[in-house]
């Protein structure tokens, strides 16, 4: 190198060459790739998978009047999802369960309720809120909102801090204080169980929607529960919402539940 001017010239050209090399290498690699027959490994959504902008549920409480009407729905859900049955109340795990009107809709409770509201059980589950407070509370993003509106748990990431349980105004989440496996009467081999130390809740049957099936409680309800896309004006849920007066749980909190009740 004779002088600084020469040195800088060479250095500049070398820098351009280095910067452009990934582009050139890619071009070479892709032209080589075309010659081989084999295609790249791909991951896709299944052909039968159902999709939506915002999944929602309409529960017709007129058709679910007694505990006997509700029990098979709860059983269907808890059976396919390997939900354990704990005798001790404080260990209880529930995805979908029945409660009284005054607990489901405390802001609508009056002393002089109608007989049906006073005495019939109400089916409650995770509301899959459009503005879910649990997801904001979760420090690991273990619970998150999918693009189709389902609020899902990623058990791999859950550290069991239970912030989400404190954040959920509906008590829809349960914590595994004990290893759930000994408490599952009949294990569904197709669905995983959970382990000690994670929070669980209803998943709107995301695994069934991926196969093109409706959620288990909807299937078991004999038409009392409708499920569909809230964003699609032609969907069954939108039709029901148009024709009937519906209420949602604790609407004043602004979480925008996706589960509607015809009363």
């Amino acid at each position: 190198m004779s002088n600084r001017r020469e040195f800088l010239k060479v250095a500049g050209v070398a820098a351009i060459g280095l910067g452009a090399s990934p582009v050139i290498m890619n071009a070479v690699a892709s032209s080589g790739g075309e010659q081989s027959e084999k295609q790249e490994v791909q991951i896709n959504k299944g052909e039968n998978a159902l999709s939506a902008r915002q999944w929602a549920m309409v529960i017709d409480t007129r058709k679910l009047k007694t505990a006997e009407d509700i029990e098979p729905l709860v059983d269907a859900c808890h059976k396919i999802h390997n939900v354990p049955k704990h005798e001790i109340k404080r260990h209880e795990i529930k995805w979908i369960w029945e409660t009284e009107f005054k607990h489901a809709f405390p802001d609508m409770h009056t002393e002089y309720l109608s007989e049906t509201a006073e005495h019939s059980p109400f089916l409650v589950l995770c509301n899959h809120c459009q503005n879910p407070p649990c997801c904001r509370a979760c420090p690991t993003e273990a619970t998150f909102q999918r693009e189709d509106g389902i609020v899902l748990m990623d058990f791999h990431r859950c550290i069991g801090c239970r912030f989400c349980m404190a954040a959920c105004p509906f008590g829809a989440r349960s914590f595994n204080f004990r290893d759930p496996r000994p408490f599952i009467a009949e294990t569904n081999k197709k669905f995983p169980t959970r382990m000690k130390g994670v929070v669980e809740k209803c998943n709107f049957c995301a695994e069934l929607l991926a196969e093109g099936k409706m959620p288990a409680c909807v299937e078991a309800s004999n038409g009392a529960i409708a499920f569909g896309d809230l964003d699609d004006p032609e969907s069954e849920v939108r039709k029901l919402l148009k024709e009937n007066f519906t209420i949602r749980r604790k609407q004043g909190l602004g979480t925008e539940p996706s589960v509607y009740y015809i009363v």
Partner: protein, 135 residues
């Protein structure tokens, strides 16, 4: 007297014993490496001949593949895996992998024990759909 070691005999024997004990596992096991485990394939796996990817890819990369599956299925709701041959698989440990490799003890565990890894997949995922049915 700067270079004197007090109780020289005692110290030296102590040191020799210490070194001998510390290195004991090395010279005791010298030359007898544990043989690599032999895997047993189930009838279904033998008939299928190939896994979702070539055998050597599966041998080295199955953990990365499962990691991608886990994230794609749970976080993105994408469940179909199409391999180089264009064959599609449901991305599921229990329902796809263990459907064929239903002998976890002779297939998964042998290597995992040998290499001293302890994957926690089976804390939740049901390990062996078929074996459990026989119980």
């Amino acid at each position: 007297m700067p270079n004197k070691i007090y109780h020289k005999k005692l110290v030296m024997t102590g040191l020799a014993v210490f070194i001998a004990m510390m290195t004991f596992p090395f010279w005791y096991n010298y030359g007898k490496a544990a043989p690599a485990p032999k895997l047993e394939l189930t009838k279904e796996a033998k008939e299928a001949k190939v896994c979702i990817r070539p055998t050597d890819v599966m041998r080295t990369d199955h953990m990365q593949i499962l990691d991608v599956w886990r994230d794609e299925v749970v976080r993105n709701g994408v469940r179909m895996y199409v391999n180089e041959e264009g064959k599609a698989f449901n991305m599921s440990l229990s329902n796809t992998c263990l459907e064929c490799h239903s002998n976890k003890a002779e297939f998964c565990d042998r290597c995992h024990t040998y290499t001293s890894v302890d994957p926690y997949c089976w804390d939740c995922h049901i390990d062996n759909p078929k074996e459990k049915k026989d119980e």
